[in-house]
């Protein structure tokens, strides 16, 4: 006898899909902030897969991909449960921004969030939202996928990132990453995650022993069909790997394992000319970006610090000092 699955107002009997919302906040005119949720409850037992997108509100590829995944997922044929959340950060989405303007916090740096009475920041929005979302993940999910893209400013190679370590948890996460079929499989050490993404979902999913993976592709604020399909295929691949649906994951001939990422950040601000593209192979010292002042006088050249592949690259034509301009992944072996 399988259970009814409920997330907020989304309720699905076995063999059904139920759509609804998870209420996370209320604005000062009394309007609610509701996160749309779709629950697809299968007819047989299996994994409970939580797939979310839009913790950063200007990342759209994963939302488009979830439409396709939901269309392809028949509740009658599904084993287990698919919970799809196409946009977590509603206030940021409304603003077309990474973070909710109400507090500006990066939602993927504040897991596990905080309940109302323990909120830290003055504007207690994002902390409460993440707490409510993560409580649902902890309550229900056996596996979690966090979909991202390059926002407005950058574009990302197709990659799957997981938290490295020893033991069955990491093995399960690594298997999810490989099964996604993304071109780059990024094995991130705990120390690296502590530096670049402390309190992100990966770290807290690991603490809750919920195997998980981050998937990224595309960006620039766009819904490019080939990128949307790539992301949808990655989710379907993982569902196949978990035997939630029939079929084998479709994995490309070559996958590259990224063992270390190197962030590119300028000391100066100016116009930004990008010289590299996602997945491009670069040599140490190769120029990735040129920064000029507004009259075209050179200010700075950013260079790849190591041999590797371009994981992400800032394509926006302007930059302030210190801002993310992309990252270069060092790959296992010679990467060929």
């Amino acid at each position: 006898m399988r259970d009814v699955i409920e997330v907020g107002t989304a309720r699905a009997e076995p063999g059904q899909r139920g759509d609804g919302v998870l209420r996370v906040a209320e604005l000062n005119d009394g309007t609610p902030v509701d996160i749309p949720v779709a629950v697809v409850n299968g007819t047989q037992d299996g994994s409970v897969l939580w797939v979310q997108n839009g913790v950063h509100g200007m990342e759209y590829v994963g939302a488009g991909a979830l439409h396709r995944v939901l269309r392809l997922t028949s509740p009658r044929l599904l084993r287990g449960v698919l919970i799809a959340v196409p946009m977590v950060n509603i206030l940021a989405y409304r603003a077309g921004a990474r973070s909710a303007p109400i507090d500006g916090l990066d939602m993927n740096r504040i897991y596990p969030g905080r309940p109302l009475h323990q909120v830290m920041h003055v504007f207690g929005h994002s902390e409460v939202v993440i707490n409510k979302v993560f409580n649902e993940i902890r309550r229900l999910a056996t596996h979690v996928i966090d979909l991202h893209a390059g926002g407005w400013y950058t574009t990302m190679s197709p990659y799957a990132q997981y938290l490295d370590g020893d033991g069955p948890y990491q093995e399960a996460s690594a298997a999810l990453a490989r099964a996604s079929g993304m071109t780059l499989v990024w094995r991130s050490s705990a120390a690296f995650m502590d530096e670049k993404a402390p309190s992100s979902l990966k770290i807290w999913a690991a603490r809750a022993s919920i195997p998980g993976v981050t998937l990224e592709v595309g960006g620039q604020g766009r819904l490019v069909p080939v990128e949307v399909r790539r992301m949808a295929q990655a989710v379907v691949n993982i569902m196949r790997h978990l035997q939630m649906v029939d079929g084998e994951p479709e994995i490309p001939v070559r996958q590259y394992v990224v063992r270390q990422g190197h962030w590119l950040r300028p000391k100066t601000g100016g116009l930004l000319f990008a010289r590299v593209k996602p997945l491009q192979r670069v040599r140490a010292g190769q120029i990735t970006h040129v920064i000029t002042d507004l009259l075209g006088r050179p200010r700075e050249r950013l260079r790849a610090p190591v041999d590797g592949l371009v994981v992400g690259v800032r394509t926006l034509g302007t930059v302030n000092s210190g801002e993310y301009c992309g990252n270069i992944g060092e790959v296992e072996g010679d990467g060929r």
């Binding site: 906040a25 209320e26 604005l27 000062n28 005119d29 009394g30 309007t31 990474r98 973070s99 303007p101 109400i102 507090d103 500006g104 916090l105 990066d106 740096r109 109302l116 009475h117 323990q118 909120v119 830290m120 920041h121 003055v122 504007f123 207690g124 929005h125 902390e127 409460v128 926002g151 530096e195 670049k196 993404a197 402390p198 962030w263 950040r265 000391k267 100066t268 601000g269 100016g270 116009l271 002042d293 507004l294 200010r299 302007t318 930059v319 302030n320 000092s321 210190g322 801002e323 993310y324």
Partner: protein, 338 residues
């Protein structure tokens, strides 16, 4: 310890000199620099170096007024030691008249000790780099740090001085700074509470470096109320008197109230916000703190004081979203005599 020159960015002061300047913390996309203005007043006689900063949150102005009044009166020939004054510690937030720099939205007082460029974490790393530079200069020069705050545009704070628990000597000196400020509420902020409400705040990292420090708060509402500025100014003057840097006795205007816990008040609903208390008001457990109504005036929620004590701060802006800070009820410190 004798130091040859104190140099912070373009401000360089020898003994008995006053220097105005700025240090660079970033560059915008038109290649214009982001600079933090700094004034160094170096006394004729050697003594402690006090770092006084304001507007790490860009919409807090009372300390800016207090620093202006302090600088107006300081004379190197009558000063022992050095005052390093940073009236606007977060220039991009100040320009935006917002708590945080809009470039990244990070709360700078939750971002200490900051990060150097190669270790920056956030996509837009401005605040991490800013805080890293501020803290680097503080640890290089300061024997004591005064961090001025207020209730920003939305809240009003009682006159209070907060210090942090830490190594014995650090805590003793920090407590003495807090009391000498003459603020009415003296707040011993304790470890677990600070971890919950202020991780990454300046006082946590001052404790690690064992540099005595105090947070001063007064007023807010986005105003430079002369009464509030006067109280903040007195606290700064008192601090210098306490450290023996200028002549005169510390002035304490009214009996001080000691607290060691704050209860943050946050509504579960959004609506029109009606405060029912004033800063520094004494309250009992169960007293009405505020009422949230819908726009027609129908009551949605009552915020009730969860403990007896004193109102540390209260929201005065007429509206709140769910979850926002709406004030703070301080509980009396059982380790102090009242």
């Amino acid at each position: 310890m004798a130091r040859d020159a104190i140099a912070i960015g373009s401000a360089k002061a020898g003994r008995g000199e006053v220097a105005y300047g700025a240090f660079k913390v970033g560059e915008l996309n038109d290649s214009s620099p982001v600079e933090v203005p700094v004034c160094i007043v170096r006394g004729a006689r050697p003594g402690p170096v006090v770092w006084i900063q304001n507007a790490i949150h860009g919409d807090e102005y009372v300390g800016l007024g207090g620093i202006q009044w302090l600088l107006r009166d300081l004379r190197p020939e009558r000063l022992t030691g050095t005052v390093i004054a940073v009236p606007v510690a977060n220039p991009l937030a100040f320009r935006a008249r917002w708590r945080s720099a809009p470039q990244d939205g990070m709360d700078a007082n939750r971002s200490y000790p900051g990060k150097p460029l190669e270790k920056a974490m956030h996509l837009t790393a401005h605040t991490e780099l800013l805080v890293h530079e501020l803290f680097r200069y503080m640890t290089e020069y300061a024997d004591a740090v005064v961090d001025c705050h207020d209730g920003s545009t939305a809240c009003a704070m009682s006159p209070y001085a907060a210090y942090y628990e830490g190594p014995a000597e650090f805590q003793k000196k920090s407590r003495a700074l807090a009391i000498a400020s003459g603020m009415t509420v003296i707040w011993r902020t304790i470890g677990g509470f600070v971890d919950e409400k202020f991780p990454g705040s300046l006082k946590v990292y001052l404790a690690k470096k064992e540099i005595p420090g105090v947070t001063l708060e007064m007023g807010g509402r986005g105003q430079l109320d002369r009464g509030d500025v006067s109280r903040m100014h007195l606290a700064l003057v008192n601090t210098l008197r306490h450290l023996g840097m200028i002549e005169g006795e510390v002035e304490i205007l009214e009996p001080q109230v000691f607290i060691n816990k704050g209860n943050w008040m946050r509504p579960a609903t959004g609506g029109v916000f009606w405060p029912e208390v004033q800063p520094a008001q004494r309250v009992k457990e169960g007293d009405l703190f505020a009422v949230v109504t819908d726009v027609f005036g129908r009551e949605k929620e009552r915020l009730i004081c969860p403990a007896g004590g004193v109102i540390v701060g209260v929201r005065v802006s007429g509206t709140a979203h769910s979850g926002e800070y709406c004030g703070n009820v301080g509980e009396l410190d059982p380790d102090e005599t009242h």
